[in-house]
Amino acid sequence: MSVEERVIEIVSEQMGVSKDQVSKETSFVNDLGADSLDTVELVMEFEEEFDITIPDDEAEKIQTVGQAIDYIEQHAHAK
């Protein structure tokens, strides 16, 4: 599975929405109704899945599925 597919899978599972409702443009807060704790949990799930650490100040910038994919693609290989 690609990073994009894995991210979409996590988002759909965590937020309780079907995968076809999730695209790169999807905003966690505006489109999926995530609150601050949901967002923290999503970031933790990405960290777990991709074995990376996302610092809090970076995590705050990740507001869409696309931004999450970009961050992971840039950092997952670095490990």
Binding site: E13, Q14, M15, G16, V17, L37, V40, E41, M44, E48
Partner: protein, 419 residues
């Protein structure tokens, strides 16, 4: 100061091992069916006890949606589901009432123990950075009340009571007082518990508090019986709608019964053992009668705390005799823990529902498994078979570790009373 406002019960909802509708719950109680069975929530092989009053086939995700269910510990799911059932049963439309006059007061002995244990395991195995951000909002003992208040946007008194197995009764007593004095018009109240977990089962078993009748689980909860050997751990929720009479009347609500009085008192004696003379329990019952301004000999039926422990059932019997004197032998008494097991902080909620239905439907549920009364247990505990009877005044007792005693009195609703 004028007369306190009258408070009535207009809706009820349950989540129990005997069903999740009032009709199924009541029919099973009165038929003397046991909801106790093998525990399947986790592997109990290493535990001394392998059975309990488990809520079967619970699917929080199907009920609340995947995302919402993940934000709710099992105990809060029970609280929310029973509240939804009680609100629907009452026919109340919160959109028509000032939200600041509506409250929630749901007791729980322990709160989100499932979540606590799950996240503790995560912390130990994967490190503290892996702890879920929902850990605290799921485990806190007031999560049930908080979630229920959010469900309907209620903004009156919102609180939670934690007095172990008296939690729901203390919560309902406080609700009665808040409505009587005008601080609220409607309160969603009762209790919820989901403590059938590794630590819950293991902890109570370590105290030697639980029955170990593993070869015959349905016969294990036997309050007042000679061979009782401890309580049966159970889970679920019992939620009632307490409402100011004038508010209920104004919306044409069906009124099940009136909440007449509440008494509470402590043992100040031992953290788990009851005072053998039942003095705290007796004081709670006396204060309840005084609060209701109902004479002792007007009480027809008592839904006893009756957990099936050797000391507790005897102490409650002693206490009832000291409060009711010669009338004690005329009281009809039963413990519905014989069918349900012990729902801990939720027990008072389901038992006040049973007490209310006894008035409303004219049937007294039995104490099952009462084959041979224990020494000193010589009152009428309605052994094994339900009774049809018109009852006008019913008391419900709840006692909790810590030395908490709470009694509530419900009565047949008569519009002319005190008018």
């Amino acid at each position: 100061m004028g007369e306190p406002r009258r408070v009535v019960i207009t809706g009820m909802g349950v989540v129990t091992s005997l069903g999740e509708t009032l009709d199924r719950f009541w029919e099973a109680l009165c038929a003397g069916r046991s909801g106790v069975g093998p525990l399947t929530l986790f592997d109990t092989t290493e535990f001394k006890v392998h059975f309990g009053g488990q809520v079967r086939d619970w699917d929080g995700a199907a009920r609340f949606g995947v995302k919402e269910a993940r934000h709710l510990d099992r105990f809060a799911q029970f609280a929310l589901a029973a509240s939804e059932a009680a609100v629907a049963d009452s026919g109340i439309d919160f959109a028509q009432l000032p939200p600041e006059n509506c409250g929630v007061m749901i007791g729980s002995g322990i709160g989100g123990l499932n979540e606590f244990e799950a996240q503790h395991s995560v912390c130990m195995q994967k490190g503290p950075s892996r702890i879920s951000p929902f850990t605290i909002p799921k485990l806190m003992v007031n999560a049930g009340s908080g979630q229920v208040s959010i469900r309907w946007g209620l903004r009156g008194p919102i609180s939670a009571i934690a007095t172990a197995c008296a939690s729901a009764s203390n919560a309902m007593g406080d609700s009665l007082k808040l409505i009587q004095c005008g601080d609220a018009d409607v309160i969603i109240t009762g209790g919820s518990e989901a403590a059938i977990t590794h630590m819950g089962l293991g902890g109570f078993a370590a105290m030697r508090a639980l029955s170990t009748r593993n070869d015959d689980p349905q016969r294990a909860s036997r309050p007042f019986d000679r061979d009782r050997d401890g309580f049966v751990l159970a889970e679920g929720a019992g939620i009632l709608i307490f409402e100011a009479e004038e508010v209920a009347r104004a919306r044409g609500a069906r009124i099940y019964a009136e909440v007449l009085g509440y008494g509470t008192a402590g043992d100040g004696y031992h953290i788990t053992a009851p005072d053998e003379q039942g003095r705290g329990a007796a004081r709670a019952m006396k204060r309840c009668l005084a609060d209701a301004r109902v004479p002792a000999d007007a009480v027809d039926y008592i839904n006893a705390h009756g957990t099936s422990t050797p000391l507790g059932d005897l102490a409650e019997t002693v206490a009832m005799k000291s409060v009711f004197g010669p009338h004690a032998s005329r009281l009809q008494i039963s413990s519905t823990k014989s069918q349900l097991g012990h729902l801990l902080g939720a027990s008072g909620g389901v038992e006040l529902i049973a007490s209310t239905l006894a008035i409303h439907r004219g049937v007294l549920p039995p104490t099952i498994n009462l084959d041979e009364p224990g020494e000193g247990c010589d009152l009428d505990y309605i052994p094994n078979v339900a009774r049809e009877a018109r009852v006008d005044h019913v008391m419900s007792n709840s006692f909790g570790f810590g030395g908490h005693n709470a009694s509530l009195l419900v009565g047949r609703y008569e519009p002319s009373r005190r008018a």
